[in-house]
Amino acid sequence: METTTTELKGDVTAANADCDKVISILEMIIDEEASSEEQSYFYQHLEECKNCFEAHSHQKMLKSFLKMNVKRKDVPASLISTIKSIVHETA
């Protein structure tokens, strides 16, 4: 649809001061580092701005995407026992 293209371009050129501010605190919001004032300002803007709403959901997606996909490695049992025994032998 034609509107999609316009919206995508709109993302890049959006000169709206509110949008700029919202984007500048986006990562703090995602990382739970924003103050409660910032949060309410942020989420209020999201209700009226589709571009920022989408930017937020994509940024959030990246974070959960990483957590979900980067597998954790098991600690080798020998490492734990080695550390314990070296420590016990240390005066």
């Binding site: 649809m1 999609t4 293209t5 995508l8 993302d11 890049v12 959006a14 700029d20 984007i23 500048s24 990562e27 703090m28 990382d31 580092e33 571009n51 989408e54 930017a55 994509h58 940024q59 997606m61 990246l62 974070k63 995407f65 990483l66 957590k67 996909n69 980067v70 597998k71 954790r72 490695k73 600690v75 080798p76 490492l79 734990i80 080695t82 550390i83 314990k84 070296i86 420590v87 016990h88 240390t90 005066a91």
Partner: protein
């Protein structure tokens, strides 16, 4: 005599506390070491070295404070000071180089939305674990580090600032650049893995 005893832990008591407070962090610590060195043996050595240092300096550790952040800081310092030097691994891209490439000091940077919109592509969503880890691993180590600390380990900006010995503002801007860099990598990966980004019907821009 009794006074001295009060200040100085017995070996037995010290070992007991050391194990109770610091050993539970070994899982995250080992994973951090592995993501830094990208090698199991190196990760082993690094974690071992970290615990030995922690034991040596255990008297300086305040009971009940953040053991995880303390250990991560020791490990990161060991990695930078000792490990990176003697490692045979070819030097990764120097962080400063990357940082000046991704110039500008403010977080409200350029190209923000463009990078954000990459994540919506179906191709990126179809990447699987190994490929995502691969993209993460391909980042310069300083970028990788902030993403691991924040997104995988859940440290706060303040904790990260302490672990990395940098101001909170630098934590934020580095994290911002690291994420944009990672998004680019994921997008590239998705393309080279043969997923067709334009095949999902959501894209109708001309290229």
């Amino acid at each position: 005599m009794s006074e001295e005893k009060a200040n100085k832990l017995s070996k037995e008591e010290k070992d007991r506390r050391f194990e109770a407070e610091l050993m539970p962090v070994i899982g995250p610590l080992y994973n951090f070491a592995f993501r830094l060195t990208l090698d199991e043996d190196d990760a082993n050595d690094l974690v071992q070295e970290t615990y030995l240092k922690a034991y040596r300096f255990f008297d300086y550790f305040e009971q009940g404070t953040n053991a995880k952040a303390w250990l991560f800081r020791i490990l990161k310092n060991s990695f930078i000071n000792d490990f990176r030097k003697k490692s045979k691994q070819p030097a990764k891209v120097d962080y400063n180089e990357v940082e000046s490439y991704y110039n500008t000091d403010d977080v409200e940077g350029e190209g923000e939305m463009a990078a954000t919109s990459d994540m919506r592509s179906q191709a990126v969503q179809e990447l699987i674990g190994d490929e995502v880890a691969g993209a993460l691993n391909s980042l310069p180590v300083d970028f990788r580090t902030v993403i691991i600390l924040c997104d995988l380990e859940g440290f706060t900006y303040e904790e990260m600032a302490k672990i990395l010995d940098i101001p909170i503002g630098t934590v934020r801007s580095r994290l911002h650049r690291a994420r944009n860099f990672l998004k680019e990598k994921l997008e590239k990966y998705a393309k080279t893995m043969g997923y067709d980004a334009d095949n999902n019907g959501n894209h109708d821009e001309d290229e």
